[in-house]
Symmetry: C2
């Protein structure tokens, strides 16, 4: 039996297993969910074992555990390491979900659930491709899988884990599954991601909330100070106003700008999809340049005072904000946090105190050559699978581990995944297409075949 036949014959069982995996709310950001994270890891390790991997287990880190599996029957052949993550984003605002986020629901050829597209669907697709190759005796290389549980919180524990397991993780080529295609009909080859750094801050005013009638006009309202301070982070031309923010940024080369211009992009259709009148960003740059080639500073959350129904005439004691910056090559995440902190200190409005928290590890940006053997193989497989060659792009998001994998294991990870950008990742009603699930299984099987040649 061929691997293709194997996959066809087990299609409905595989879908049921995917739904079991999705039903585990492995939200890494929320301490209350840590047992669920653990449970997802156990489930996945058992499933790798069942797929025929010779070794599979849940390995401790300083944070959420890593699932590690390996199947290395051929000492003389190359070894491919697959990277992915089994943790998911929070799923707050349950009222905005059409079905509960951890009760995977099939609608119109889609699986709706938190983590379906980002990225349990792709982890399952890889696992099932490997299972099919093993079951059909057509696996002709060695496989290792490193599936972490902290990607959605910037992978704080993984670098140390990799350092402590460098021998075990030795390989010849790395596949990064946390990636996607351009559309159902057009494949995509990712050649890089942006880096990231994060911080949170509070503005602290009076020691307790005050009545805005009795006190209004008499002291700094932390929400006014917050608005002023956050507004100071950007210039009127859309660029970031933090001093030194662009110091290490190399200008986009004419070749790169020309490469960007050739990415297909239907602006009107995208605006319509998002219900927007216009896109907006740094003056002098086009959309793909802004979202993948230039660094940014975004407020991800901002809050203070009364946010419930009706009114409450209060001057709150504190106001809060969360910031992430996306970085391009040469920007050091720690240094960028220091620059933002310095801006906040220097622009702090009168009458409030600043408290900055920087819990999350950052990540450098990552870019790789289009001529890398992994890219060449991926390009060929995608062309065969979709019938058209892949569009080649860089991603605006961050996969913090890419730069770390390269640094610690010595290989550029090849991005090869099947998410699509309309699948509401990080939003309510996240979904994954069943067609992508099928393409994913086939694609990974084909890629592993090609890499064995």
């Amino acid at each position: 039996m061929s691997w293709k036949t194997y996959l066809e014959q087990h299609q409905s069982a595989h879908l049921a297993q995917f739904r079991d995996f999705l039903a585990i709310p492995s939200i890494s950001a929320q301490p209350a969910r840590s047992e669920d994270v653990q449970r997802a890891a156990q489930w996945l390790a058992a499933r790798f074992q069942q797929a025929g991997f010779w070794q599979s287990g849940v390995l401790s880190t300083a944070g959420h555990p890593v699932v590690y599996a390996e199947h290395c029957p051929y000492p003389a052949r190359p070894t491919v390491l697959f990277y992915g993550h089994y943790d998911v984003q929070p799923a707050d605002n349950p009222e905005r979900w059409n079905s509960p986020p951890f009760e995977p629901t099939l609608v119109d050829g889609r699986v709706v659930a938190r983590g379906a597209s980002d990225m349990k669907g792709q982890v399952m697709a890889f696992l099932l491709a490997a299972e099919a190759l093993i079951a059909s005796n057509s696996l002709n290389l060695n496989l290792k899988a490193l599936i972490e549980g902290e990607e959605e919180i910037s992978s704080p524990s993984l670098p140390a884990f990799i350092q402590q397991n460098q021998e075990r993780l030795r390989c010849d080529l790395i596949i990064n599954g946390d990636s996607g295609q351009l559309s159902e009909t057009t494949p995509l080859l990712g050649l890089g991601v942006r880096g990231i750094c994060a911080l949170e801050f509070d503005l602290v005013g009076p020691s307790h909330d005050l009545h805005s009638g009795t006190w209004g006009g008499g002291l700094q309202n932390p929400l006014h100070a917050m608005a002023e301070l956050v507004a100071s982070l950007h210039n009127p031309d859309g660029s970031v106003a933090v001093k030194g923010f662009y110091d290490e940024v190399e200008p986009l080369s004419p070749t790169l700008r020309e490469w960007y211009r050739q990415i297909p992009w239907d602006e009107a259709a995208e605006l319509k999809k998002l219900g927007l009148q216009e896109f907006y960003g740094e003056a002098g740059y086009a959309h793909w340049e802004r979202t993948t080639g230039r660094p940014t500073l975004e407020i991800n959350g901002m809050w203070g005072g009364y946010t419930g129904p009706g009114g409450m005439t209060v001057i709150p004691s504190t106001a809060h904000a969360k910031i992430t910056c996306r970085l391009v090559p040469h920007q050091n995440p720690e240094k960028m946090v220091a620059l933002v902190r310095a801006h906040l200190e220097q622009h702090l409005p009168r009458g409030v105190r600043l408290q900055v928290r920087t819990k999350e590890a950052g990540a450098f940006a990552f870019r790789m050559s289009a001529d890398h053997p992994g890219c060449v193989a991926a390009r060929e497989v995608l062309a065969e699978l979709y019938g058209v060659p892949p569009v080649e792009v860089m991603f605006g998001g961050s996969v913090p581990i890419l730069a770390t994998l390269k640094q610690l294991l010595g290989h550029d990870p090849v991005s090869f995944g099947f998410g699509l950008e309309d699948e509401l990742i990080h939003s309510p009603n996240e979904f994954f297409r069943l067609s992508s699930f099928e393409k994913g299984k086939q694609g990974y099987a084909m890629l592993l075949g090609r890499l064995a040649q």
Copy 2:
């Protein structure tokens, strides 16, 4: 038995009843609490009956009901109408309360509970004073009590109620109990309140939350737009930047400014109490002028994006803010809302849509003459009760009904209440002093005695 002896003998029973009243979470702003609001009204009407009022009942309005009680045994003598409210502010953030907000707790001579100071304590004090006068045969005038259930949401239904009940509410003098004293040792005579208007708005960006990696830098982040728009509402000198905001505002007269200067105010002590380094407000004005004599615009709540623990790399679909303005004489609340709305429209940043909501009724400011017979009586009673004459001030807060009472019933309400400004009204751990509760009972009994002369 004198009214004083009556109050002394029933002191502990009265305190127990006060705690029963506080235990009912009559939060007018939260629809889920409307049965509790109803229950508080029933409790209070029954208690007026028990106090000896000839009539007492719960009367419907378009919103939460009014408690109305009257005791008019003397057709030839003057009639005093007492105004108060039995609704309370929300009590969110239960983790910031040292004891549950609706389990009244006695600590160091204080009752800690939502609504203790604002203003169930003062409603009870008036009721018990009336009961003591009736029980001791020393009430020498007619009494009416109008206790509403919507003060904390700006009294939307009361004007219509008063209009429909003008005959029933006819009186010769109005006491407003929603008021306070300067400290435990210094009385206060309030000669006015600021008006108020309120609005809420949303800034709407993309139709759903987006990944801030994939999209960051490529479209307007509603939180950035919110910061910019809110920051535009004030000038660098602390004044409000809304066009026309000060058009109807009369300059403070030299006499009034001199009067303000004589209000006792220990700035260093107040800063210490609030944990602040400095006060801040409109340039060119002193604290009491800023907080009672000048109009203000305050953000009471501002929120959007991810506000939970950890990080979430999101560009939110929407951002939200709640605004109230405090108004001085001649400023029309409806007109002020229109001016703020126009400012928001004119300063709207690119890439977001504006949605404005204006649910709450506003209120004009109210000021009265220090020579009004009610003020003269209150001044004498307070001087006797505290041993020092009252400091005479205007309040920064709003009692929307004052201007309405004057307009509809033809009398300037005399503010006479016993809250103190450190009692954390509208904040967690609100409390009322037992000493104020006692002074309140005596003070109302003495005032009713003086007004009968």
